[in-house]
Amino acid sequence: MVTRFKKCFSFLLIFLLIFNLAACSSTKNTVKEENQKEVKEEAFTEKTKVPEINLWITSQTYDPVRYEAGLMIANSWKKLGFKVNTTALEWATMSSEGMKAHKHDAFMIQWGGKAERIDPFHWLYSLHHSSEAVEGGYNIAGYENPEYDKLAEEFASNMDWEVRKQKAYKMQEILAQDVPQPPLVHRKLTMAYNKENFENAIMAMGEGLYSFWNWVNITPKVDRKIIRFGTVSDLKLLNPLTTKTGQDIYMLRLIYDPLIRIDRDGKPIPWAAQSYRTVDDKIIEVVLRDGMKFHDGKAVTVDDVKFTFDFAREVKSPYYLSKLKKLDKVEKVDDKTIRFVLKEPFAPFISNGLALVGILPKHIWEKEYKERGAEGILSWENLPAIGSGPYKYEYWRPNEEFKLSSFDEHFNAPKVKGILRIPYAQTYGVVQGLKSGEIDVAGLNLLPLQIEELKDSSFLAFDEIDDQGYYMLHYNMRKAPFNDVNVRRALTYAIPKDQIIELVFGGRAVPAYSTVAAVNKFWHNENVEKLGNDIEKAREILKEAGFRWDKEGKIYFPKDYKVKGYYSDN
């Protein structure tokens, strides 16, 4: 009895191990290789075989959306005869190997739709200009189209918005045809707040309730005038020179005033500036607003402004520097007026430079700089953070609370008395907090399941706005087959955008076709070619370009194959 059992057992054990090892490792199937030998005569050679595509997806843990969407895309591509390998990578690995080193075949990331990107410089220039196609640059796909480069340069340097808009339209058209890295979908941002306690909440483009305009407009309806704001993670650091994450920046820009702010439609408007004007292509003159004060009572002067720009560049603040690349020098004209001289004409300097650099109080930073030196000042905690913004820093207990109170002497003082920012560390905590009334506003894009959870809470208002950021699939044009425009177009056509939206987003997203979001009305070009959801069209494109399939449906390059890099080559 025992022996028989033993025999069965050992058999099972060995069987299992072999079976599972085979199942777990993706070993090549020998049978298929033999088949390929047979069809060799028909010139389906190894050489003409389309190389396998390595699609990097994130782990489900990091982002279920990218994970699921990635699997669906891979499935769809497989139907076209491509061999697709999905590899899940940690975000840190993917960002350094893909975003930075550009060693990928294809991977997906989600580009944030921050207010500063409403001017589509980021989308149209940074992501696609050939100068950015180097390691660490934004042009991840390696898109190097001279025709496009020319348009992009004009777009960047021309100060006339109408001209820029025309260029932008043309660029969007080209990109939609060339598809170096197709945008996939925009999320529908859904955020909730307590409408019984607060009103006038503003969901702004790209940022939802995180928007600066929300915090200066939201108005209390009850006696408790401090708004409690629940988020998923705590702030990291409050030193504006070294900050990297969006969450920090959202809070910092309430404390520090820039000269210009970007309004809800993406237009730069004077803020700490009384007015500004472009003297010529390279000079911008700003007049400082009267009567502004820092939170410690000292007046904001032109010297502070000049100091900020000079100092940030002197200590090499990574965050500020990236905004001020084109700045040559800052000149004080008089007590109210200051001039920014650029190295070359650069239109987005106002919206992406002046609008993002908060004015630092010279008297504080100069003193600290002396004590700490260039390196020390970058690792300074900067507590309490003193700026001139509509909110002033009250206290910060890491992982517990962060409190801002309104700065009543500000020219655009907020309606609430303060903001209590509460980090919950996990989304269900925020959702439960919202439900129980523990918080008034959730800094969270609600997922369908969460919306369902909250729908019975009648005191909540749900606001919705399409995200101007999007999920983007980055091909690598440095590698075959992505160097071929027809392959890229076919692959893009094969992406089941609508299905992804339905299944992965539960319907709470819209397809993206143009590089500039539809919600960004001023810049968005409606009339671009809309690639996606059409696997038949994809097959057609490949067929027309001469691609061939063997008996098993595997795809091969055309006979006498010549790479066509751009749509204009066709």
Partner: protein, 325 residues
């Protein structure tokens, strides 16, 4: 005097272990794919700023030089600045450290109590239903993944019954004057119950089983019979003699368990959103925040080593037969 020498020797050994640990970690982290900078490309770090940041982090220097700098500054008590938080890693971890410690100590204390008294009870009731059911129950808890037990508790006590909070360390918006205030407020204790219970149930099982078998061994000893012959009350025999003697092997096991529990706090802290060191390690590793992860790791390693040391000393104290040398 001899015992002092022993402890000193143990501490030296501990330092050596930690040093090697730190070295391994240093190089491990540097061969991890990914760097702490490229993750912020999306949020607006262009290529010049990336290089600048790498330089500021000291990551542009050769590996060996980085290592020497790291060890040198560590000897000065400087663990470097956290990449994410911009401030000294030890400050960042310090805040989390106490949270972890409070949770750990509480749950370890509870688990020791459960282990010792539960084990004694099961041994005392050997062969009865209590023993059988108890042993099975304990084994089941020991074998269940601790994060799953935590999820179960959360769904039952927090979500369904709404008795306890859903996680975190205190109700958002509460103000505490001092650390003492924070750790002894009713609100904190309410938040502590579930994570501490989950952790302690899990780490109680091994000491409990050891205690049980150790007790079974001890009650067969001659001296127990003599004590009984002396007419000492049964309860007193149990507590004063049987348990006291059976405790000795439990101490050793418990130290190992404690080390394990500190490592396992990663799971508990993740499930219960406890702002502790374990969770910070996971986040730091994901964000490639080397200084922070290394510091947290160093602290956890130190705690593990300390627990072992304490256990050894405690053992020597509890068992007069052990002559330290």
């Amino acid at each position: 005097m001899r015992s002092m020498k022993y402890i000193l020797k143990r501490i030296l050994q501990m330092i050596l272990t930690l040093f090697i640990l730190v070295t391994i970690l240093f190089f491990l982290f540097r061969v991890v794919p990914g760097d702490p900078v490229s993750m912020y490309i999306d949020s607006g770090l262009d290529k010049e700023s990336q290089e600048l940041l790498l330089k500021q982090y000291g990551l542009d220097k050769p590996l060996l030089e980085q290592y020497i700098i790291y060890i040198k500054s560590m000897l000065r008590g400087d663990f470097g600045n956290s990449f994410q938080y911009g401030k000294p890693a030890i400050t960042v971890i310090g805040e989390r450290f106490w949270n972890t410690l409070v949770l750990m100590i509480t749950s370890l204390a509870i688990s020791l109590c459960i282990g010792v008294f539960g084990g004694a009870l099961l041994a005392w009731k050997r062969g009865t239903k209590i023993d059988t059911v108890g042993t099975i129950l304990v084994l089941a808890v020991r074998c269940a993944p601790v994060f799953w037990t935590g999820m179960l508790f959360l769904s039952i006590f927090a979500f369904k019954l709404k008795l306890l909070p859903l996680g975190g360390m205190n109700t958002p918006g509460t103000n505490f004057v001092s650390l003492y205030d924070k750790f002894f407020s009713a609100d904190f204790l309410k938040h502590l119950i579930l994570p501490a219970l989950t952790a302690s149930l899990y780490s109680a099982a091994t000491p409990l089983l050891v205690m049980r078998s150790s007790m079974l061994e001890v009650v067969k000893e001659d001296f127990i019979e003599l004590v009984r012959a002396k007419g000492v009350k049964e309860k007193k025999i149990l507590y004063k003699h049987a348990m006291r003697n059976a405790l000795l092997p439990v101490i050793t096991v418990f130290a190992v368990q404690a080390g394990f529990a500190i490592g396992g706090s990663v799971l508990i802290e993740t499930v219960f959103r406890w702002p502790g060191m374990g969770r910070e390690i996971v986040l730091a590793v994901s964000a490639r925040d080397y200084p922070l992860a290394q510091t947290a790791f160093f602290l956890i390693g130190t705690m593990t080593a300390l627990f072992n040391l304490i256990a050894d000393v405690l053992y020597a104290y509890l068992d007069p037969r052990v002559v330290i040398n």
